[in-house]
Symmetry: C2
Subunit: 351 residues, 2 copies
């Protein structure tokens, strides 16, 4: 039996307790300061209010103040916050991590330096840890098409544990793997993390097709706008792969964290909904307001990566004609410019 301590009790972090407890491991869910009511609910009734499910009784829930008491003897420490919380989680975890622990990151997004060089989030998570201590920890992540609730109710799900340390990855796969939660490993840490982050950007793009359809005279026709969606999906697939190489991946392309996860993310959710509003011609600020200012990891990644691409293009690191879809999404989402899909710049340029 292994002990897994999780900082953050959002839906994905909590859903991952299911394969672990199915394998009889001990899961300690520690809420952030934003998760107090979630932890109260799990402590009172076992029910995770956002998943709308009762967690197994072997999942223990703790408030943030208890983190220090439940982390020392953990074999795996999961950073279960989303991309907006990674720097905060890094500060919380850095003083508490013990040599030999596996640190597992689940956030999807990109970090960036002042010069515009993109970084994967596990590196951001490691920032406050002193160099010599860093090397005594195994930094890892999990990627792949995983709707949290489906993991929680044990739908078949295929994921990849990635990181530099194959032994740690094998151990994670062993801890998590069940007959429904299928696990692979990859030492292409950068490539898998870039794919996982970028797919959110393009899923937002796919939502645009629906919004555009709504503005057409024959919007109620039996013919939808799937060709449009698929064309954006395909251009997204190209840009994801280019981006993985740009950030430093040398491996062959992955499919689970790129097209697989982009597919699942395109099936619905907040990023698709905001894309739909943009497709109707609404500005991004208004769309955000209309949706009640939800957490939009896709929009955030578009902001980070779009700004980085401008710097990288100025520096001559990337070509101006590369990433036309991401650049346009940046113009629309971050700069509030009108939507005007640059079709002829796709797939290397219309010719």
């Amino acid at each position: 039996m292994a002990i897994i301590t999780v900082l953050g009790s959002g839906i994905m972090a909590s859903a991952l307790s299911i394969p672990l407890t199915d394998n009889n491991h001990e899961v300690r869910l520690v809420g952030t300061h934003l998760d107090r009511e979630i932890i109260d609910s799990i402590q009172d009734s076992g029910v995770h209010p956002n998943l709308e499910l009762e967690l197994p009784s072997s999942v223990q829930a703790f408030q943030l103040e208890e983190l220090e008491q439940v982390i020392d003897d953990a074999e795996v420490v999961m950073s279960g916050v989303n991309s907006f919380g990674v720097e905060w989680a890094a500060e919380q975890l850095a003083p508490l991590l013990k040599p030999g622990q596996i640190v597992l990151s689940i956030a999807k997004g990109m970090g960036v330096t002042d010069e515009g060089d993109l970084r994967i989030l596990p590196d951001v998570l490691a920032d406050p840890v002193p160099e010599d201590a860093k090397d005594q920890l195994s930094w890892t992540a999990v990627v792949g098409p995983s709707i949290a609730g489906e993991v929680a109710v044990r739908r078949d799900t295929c994921v990849i544990f990635s990181g530099a340390d194959q032994q740690a990855l094998d151990r994670l796969a062993e801890l998590f793997r069940t007959d429904r939660y299928h696990a692979w490993t990859s030492t292409d840490f950068i490539g898998t993390e870039v794919c996982a982050a970028m797919k959110n950007c393009y899923a937002l793009g796919v939502g645009i097709a629906t919004g555009v359809l709504e503005t057409l005279e024959d919007a109620d026709s039996q013919y939808r706008n799937h060709n449009f969606e698929a064309a954006l999906f395909a251009q997204g697939a190209i840009e994801i792969e280019q981006m993985a190489k740009l950030v430093g991946s040398e491996a062959t392309p992955h499919v689970l964290p790129s097209v697989g996860d982009m597919y699942v993310t395109s099936m619905g959710g907040r990023n698709v909904r905001v894309g739909r509003l943009l497709g109707t011609g609404m500005g991004f600020s208004q769309a955000e307001e209309e949706l009640g200012h939800p957490t939009l990891e896709g929009a955030a990644a578009i902001g980070v990566v779009g700004a980085a691409l401008e710097k990288l293009t100025e520096r001559g690191v990337v070509e101006a004609e590369d990433y036309p879809l991401l650049r346009h999404l940046y113009q629309v989402v971050e700069l509030e410019q009108p939507l005007d899909i640059p079709w002829s710049s796709f797939y290397g340029g219309e010719r």
Copy 2:
């Protein structure tokens, strides 16, 4: 103004008349023996009964007997039949084709030799044409995510014209390209055609996820089966690319005819519906009957390619562990074996 003669007046062939007539070209739709009522309807009212749309008055419709009279002066001859009609269309067209014509194929499927070597359908279409005449024709195809009705109502659509002769491809792109129908070209004739054929197989696979969900106790839960779908989609993406290389493509992978078209095909249609029934545990024959024996290009391609893979594996041309999803679909669809997704064989093998 160019003249385009089309053999076959199904929905895709007919939809392609829209970008052509938008560019003021002359389109002559010639029905097959199965299309008599479609041609009657277009001649009477302009309405294509299956598209449920009125075609532009510049589209002329002809019965099969008139083919010979309307093909001589065509610059482009389109074989507008589906994969089941290619050999028939080849026999009709072979004696009538004139040197210099561009022959455009739209069927999606694979041919095969007795030894199990896979062939692209434009090669099957060319079979009855004498060798010296073959060389005086330009053999081409069009691929990419295109729901016919969406093309017909001018939704944005991105396609690739492929073939060996770049000049012919440029000409096709020029004839078809509008501000909604976006056209690229590729001389990777084999790669593009293999992608376009295989995506139907895997879209059927995606339907399976929905059927499996329906058999679960909590099928009415808010949590669907998208992780399962996405995992099959990702494995499909791997196998499509491997298959393109196997048949002879040397180019970098395409995205429009592979993941783009697989995405659009997964959004619905007959192949997805039959997949759904297979997912519930129904045998293929019964599923076919339940759906009223529709034209199932995906199931047909699974049959052709699955049988070919057995021969190619025996001959040592492919490894037994490659194409695990296609092989399983073959077992289920062709051999009526029970559905049992071989998860651990995906992505190179669970590890």
